[in-house]
């Protein structure tokens, strides 16, 4: 078994969930504040698209954007001196794009559940929009936001199609666990495949348990909770 796949996968999933988590929250906060229905629907559609597209199609678009002969890809190559396609960074980009809709949708749903009167009341006692978000909306939406984060982490960890398209399957560089499973089976090395599969199942199971813990956790301020 090649341990590099495990390391690459964990590094990719960890970095991508940090990016996805904050991007998803900001995107959800923005969409919730849009007032025109048409614009809201269009933006929501674009943000959700990677969830419903086949990952290979998402990867195709990423290739289209970051390819070295495209403006953005060329910019990275000429100005920053890095090639995005077939680099480790590409695995992160693929994971972020594909897991983003899960984070965004969970956060948006959780934000919209927060009683509007709380926000109105906060405004009338002089709290700034930013403070209202950090002190009231986010804490109240936390169970939904956290479970969205966990789902997004699992999705990023399992990402295959888009990663194969934009990052390729280079052992020790861009070969994540799902790609390692594929490669091992393709090469007829079932021993290695079992081990990779075992690790993926183990991590995924922990993720599900973690999510249940977050969503079912009795919040201390709910009725029946004890005062400090």
């Amino acid at each position: 078994m090649d341990f590099s796949a495990i390391l690459i996968s964990l590094r990719t999933a960890s970095l991508s969930i940090v990016i996805t988590f904050f991007l998803g929250i900001l995107a959800a906060r923005w969409v919730v504040s849009i007032r025109t229905t048409v614009l809201k629907t269009i933006i929501d559609g674009i943000f959700t698209l990677p969830l419903v597209l086949p990952p290979t199609v998402a990867g195709f678009f990423l290739l289209y954007i970051f390819g070295v002969r495209r403006p953005i890809g060329q910019f990275f190559l000429d100005v920053l001196g890095t090639k995005i396609v077939f680099s480790w960074g590409a695995t992160v980009i693929a994971a972020v794009v594909v897991s983003f809709p899960l984070m965004y949708r969970s956060a948006r749903g959780a934000f919209e559940q927060v009683d509007q009167n709380l926000i109105h009341a906060a405004r009338t006692i002089g709290m700034s929009e930013w403070r209202i978000f950090w002190r009231i909306v986010l804490p109240l939406a936390l169970p939904g936001v956290a479970s969205g984060g966990i789902l997004a982490f699992a999705r990023g960890l399992g990402e295959f199609g888009a990663t194969a398209m934009i990052a390729g399957n280079i052992a020790g560089k861009t070969r994540t666990l799902p790609l390692a499973v594929y490669s091992a089976v393709a090469a007829g090395d079932m021993e290695a495949a079992y081990e990779y599969v075992g690790i993926l199942v183990g991590i995924s199971f922990l993720v599900v348990v973690g999510m249940n813990w977050f969503t079912a956790r009795e919040r201390r301020y709910k009725a029946g909770g004890r005062a400090k």
Partner: protein, 352 residues
């Protein structure tokens, strides 16, 4: 102290069109649900924006469509007590109150302590809102609002979320609070008892329009329109025509009544409150004495509700008349004759 409001806003099904000028005395706004009363408060607080108009407090303009002024709710300095109190459930009582105070955490502490004591919340500062009773929640919400020292206090159906036995005690507290509070207050409710107990001036809203604006007592004593009389609790209405300077004919009831002059020119209806009939079997000299045919009876714990009509008149919702009397006052057989004093016949206009 003055609050000037003149706003227009198109809403689903009707247009809100309200104009009033509060001179410092507690103002009540009475209206049925969907009359636009909560929307009026939300526009004053800046939670909603009117389509056009003007709002100012003590000369400070908060909203003016012509001058394109629309001050953010954060800068309006207007306190809003929500129907469900809108306490932040993730914060303790002390944290909720501290949210409305400026400055550092340490600087806020003495002020929070003072408010906790003033609103009789001792020992509850560390509790979360869900662990408090409805009355305690209301006190926390008021403490949080007054921590912000608003120039105007808006109360949106403040007692509707409370159990009946708590309401009256809290209304007494609220009366004391309003008496001490220096700024303007506006109380919105559909409950005539609340508005009578807590406001000095009264604006009656119906379908987004102001029907009347007058001292509360006067509005209850002498309502001029059918809708106003109905909102202040009058249950009996009949179409009416003027006969002479002191007499009208209640056409739905087929009853000739002596009334107090002057009779308005545009009289269309009369109204009589269910409490104002008195038994008149023996006293022949009473004015407006008439025989009754009892149609149905409803028993309350301490009152009888009698639905009657005039003998010979076909019973219908128009001809039925309610009489309410305390069991203690009169607890024998039902009288055969009732009467009503001329001053207690309300002379009204409006299409009902």
């Amino acid at each position: 102290m003055s609050l000037k409001v003149d706003i227009h806003k198109k809403l689903k099904g009707f247009a809100l069109d309200v104009c009033f000028d509060s001179g410092g005395a507690p103002l009540g706004i009475l209206g049925a649900s969907g009359s636009g009363k909560s929307m009026t408060l939300k526009c004053i607080a800046g939670i909603e924006s009117p389509d056009s108009g003007h709002i100012s407090v003590n000369g400070r303009v908060l909203y003016d469509s012509a001058r394109k002024i629309n001050v953010k709710p954060q800068k309006r300095n207007i306190g809003y007590l929500f129907q469900n109190y809108a306490l932040f459930p993730n914060m303790t009582v002390a944290q909720n109150i501290a949210c409305a105070l400026p400055g550092s955490r340490a600087g806020k502490a003495p002020k929070v302590d003072e408010l906790v004591r003033r609103f009789a919340l001792d020992g509850l500062a560390g509790r979360y809102p869900a662990q408090l009773s409805g009355g305690q929640q209301q006190r926390v919400a008021l403490a949080r609002i007054l921590a912000y020292e608003p120039e105007v206090l808006l109360l949106d159906e403040p007692f509707s979320a409370l159990d009946a036995f708590l309401k009256e005690a809290l209304q007494v507290e609220m009366r004391q609070l309003l008496a001490q509070y220096g700024g303007d207050t506006v109380l919105v409710t559909h409950n005539r008892d609340e508005v009578y107990r807590l406001s000095e001036d009264l604006l009656v809203l119906d379908g987004g329009r102001a029907l009347s604006m007058a001292p509360t007592e006067e509005t209850f004593e002498k309502p001029r329109q059918v809708q106003v009389a109905r909102l202040t609790g009058c249950k009996n209405f009949s179409r009416a025509v003027k006969l002479d300077d002191t007499h009208v004919e209640a056409t739905d009831w087929r009853l000739r009544l002596q009334v107090a002059a002057p009779i308005p020119e545009n009289l269309t209806h009369i109204g009589i409150r269910a409490h104002y009939f008195v038994p008149a079997d023996d006293d022949m000299a009473m004015p407006n004495r008439f025989p009754i045919a009892v149609h149905s009876l409803l028993e309350d714990p301490f009152e009888w509700n009698v639905m009657f009509h005039l003998p010979g008149v076909q019973h219908s919702p128009q001809t039925g008349i309610w009489w309410k009397y305390a069991k203690q006052q009169h607890n024998g057989a039902l009288p055969k004759m009732l009467s009503v004093t001329p001053q207690n016949v309300l002379l009204l206009e409006g299409d009902g």
